[in-house]
């Protein structure tokens, strides 16, 4: 039995609808709907309306609305940062970082995270209904950029009545959004944490994304993006896309330690194309579990948004210009074994910030965990995050953590 056959598709909870369609109809989240009269103006030159934004919040907004933290999620993440995920039943993707007493302390801060435009967890995306046809958008949704995602988040922040965010934080594609926030709305970002990110998507990164997209589009069940009519899902293509991408999230060293050349439940190779090696079995599992929760068309849109990201290009080729005169406090974080967004990408951001005399901290965390390290429990990462956030909170005049109060 192949992994593709084992996968039943994302049809489950919503009467034959995909997870993405189910989340559009009745999201497991707070949702704000902007009407036709309040459209999202997009980089592609068109407007998107109506616009729904699905989001989660944690903690309490204080009286002068100065303690809001916006978390930006990565490519396949969503708004369920620190609660049990409604589809997978797993813990929130960043509940090591966000929660009571955690570095992003929900006892002190009002934490917001919204699903990105083009996503599949309730925010307007390819599974949403196109008002002109009454059918899901499919590929008729305009191509989305990182700046479009950020503009949509700004509409949500406006709706919540917040002028200035105390902190905007995120890893990978989330880090791209953090940089875009700081460039687009400098006066609205008191502090910023771009983690395991870059100011542009590299040629190599675009190449990996293209492999993933081609795998999806080569799946006959994709049907030009109109698979919602047939009841089939391009699960094989999406699983292959995930498998290819997942390789880029781990370091060679970590793969070697975890799997090496070890065989899966057998003592000798089978002289077949079965998953003899543990790494094959692991990747197949990653692929098949991914398709249960993620929409193939969304994968096309969100990877494209990352590909198009080149912050310097928007400012005449100079990244320093993107941050001109910034008063935001930055903490740039990279991981030594991340080859998707290598330390040199973070260093380029730091150089551009230095060129503006900006307040910037930069830590490179020594680890073999690769790009995904930002999602993992790394004490040094949390210690530096806590130090930065506490110092920024002090500078913003926010009260210290409960523990600090008790101690002194």
């Amino acid at each position: 039995m192949t992994d593709g056959a084992r996968v039943t598709g994302q049809i489950a909870a919503h009467n034959g609808l995909t997870v993405a369609q189910g989340e559009v109809e009745s999201p497991h989240s707070l949702i704000v709907r902007f009407s036709q009269s309040d459209p999202l103006v997009m980089d592609s030159g068109v407007t998107l309306a109506p616009l729904s934004i699905a989001y989660q919040t944690y903690g309490q907004l204080n009286a002068d609305k100065s303690n809001a933290v916006l978390i930006c999620h990565a490519l396949t993440g969503d708004q369920h940062v620190a609660n049990v995920h409604p589809i997978t039943g797993k813990p929130g993707w960043w509940d090591t970082m966000v929660g009571p007493g955690k570095p992003i302390d929900t006892d002190r801060f009002f934490v917001i995270c919204s699903n990105v435009v083009g996503g599949c967890m309730g925010t307007t995306g390819p599974a949403s209904l196109n008002p002109t046809t009454g059918q899901p958008y499919g590929l008729d949704l305009p191509v989305v950029t990182i700046r479009d995602m950020v503009r949509a988040q700004a509409k949500l922040v406006d709706y919540l009545g917040i002028d200035e965010l105390f902190c905007v934080a995120g890893g990978s594609m989330g880090g791209m959004q953090v940089l875009q926030w700081a460039a687009l709305f400098p006066q609205r970002v008191f502090s910023a944490m771009p983690i395991a990110a870059g100011a542009r998507h590299s040629s190599q990164n675009i190449a990996f994304h293209e492999v993933g997209r081609q795998a999806i589009m080569a799946d006959p069940d994709w049907e030009g993006g109109r698979y919602f009519n047939s009841g089939k899902r391009p699960v094989k293509g999406l699983a292959v896309a995930r498998m290819a991408a997942h390789i880029t999230y781990m370091s060679d060293e970590a793969l070697h330690h975890k799997f090496g050349r070890k065989l899966q439940d057998r003592s000798a190779p089978t002289f077949s194309f079965d998953a003899d090696f543990q790494i094959e079995s692991y990747l197949r599992h990653q692929g098949s579990s991914f398709v249960e929760r993620f929409d193939a068309n969304s994968y096309l849109y969100v990877t494209r948004a990352m590909d198009y990201f080149d912050l310097a290009a928007d400012y005449g080729g100079s990244l320093a210009q993107a941050f001109r005169g910034t008063r935001t406090r930055f903490c740039v974080v990279s991981f030594s074994s991340d080859w998707l967004f290598p330390t040199s990408d973070s260093r380029a951001i730091v150089h551009a910030l230095n060129a503006n005399g900006a307040s910037v901290s930069f830590v490179d965390i020594e680890t073999d965990k690769g790009h995904d390290a930002f999602l993992l429990d790394l004490p040094e990462f949390f210690a530096t995050s806590r130090g930065f956030i506490d110092a920024a909170a002090k500078a913003r005049g926010l009260p210290p953590a409960k523990d600090a109060l008790r101690q002194g």
Partner: protein
Amino acid sequence: MSEFHRPLAGSSIRADARVDLLVIANMVQPGSRVLDVGCGDGTLLRLLSESRNVDARGMELSQKGVNDCVAKGLSVIQGDADSDLADYPDDAFDYVILSQTLQATYHPRRVLEHMLRIGKFAIVSFPNFGHWRIRTQLMFKGRMPVTENLSYAWYDTPNIHFCTIRDFVAMVDEIGAGIERGVALNRWGSPIRFEAPWWVWNLFGEQGVFLLRRKP
């Protein structure tokens, strides 16, 4: 107690701070913008922000030093004085500080020129290779001097560009910078009398601390 050694009100780390750091901290005007190049574990940055209400930033070569600093809430980046000062714009800071690091740079003169470009003032402290103990070791033992302050053997020392106080003053002159204030500290960390002639400083100062100003 000299004016350079007066205790720094509000600081929690005066007692174990290096003497030259106290001297440097007292050269900095309260409320100014400071970049500490080679900030180590952030002792001077903390001293400055706690006692002088300074907007203090740091650059440090060792990643561990950087991470420790950031975990303490200090604004520090990993970087190299030789290569990374070039990124900073002119006049980004009031003071750029280089404490006990000049002798470890590849291009001390270029580093100093960048410091005076980035900051209105530069503050430099460095070990004086003209101190009588060093001279006598070389003269009588015929071997590269190893002292309490300079404890490395010649083959593993990070200090590749030693100078004497007179050498330093000559370079400052060549660059065209002005000496706003200068202090030579003896081996107990006390300043040598200001009116003493250069040769006294050069012979009895274990380290020099200079506040430099860019010539207009």
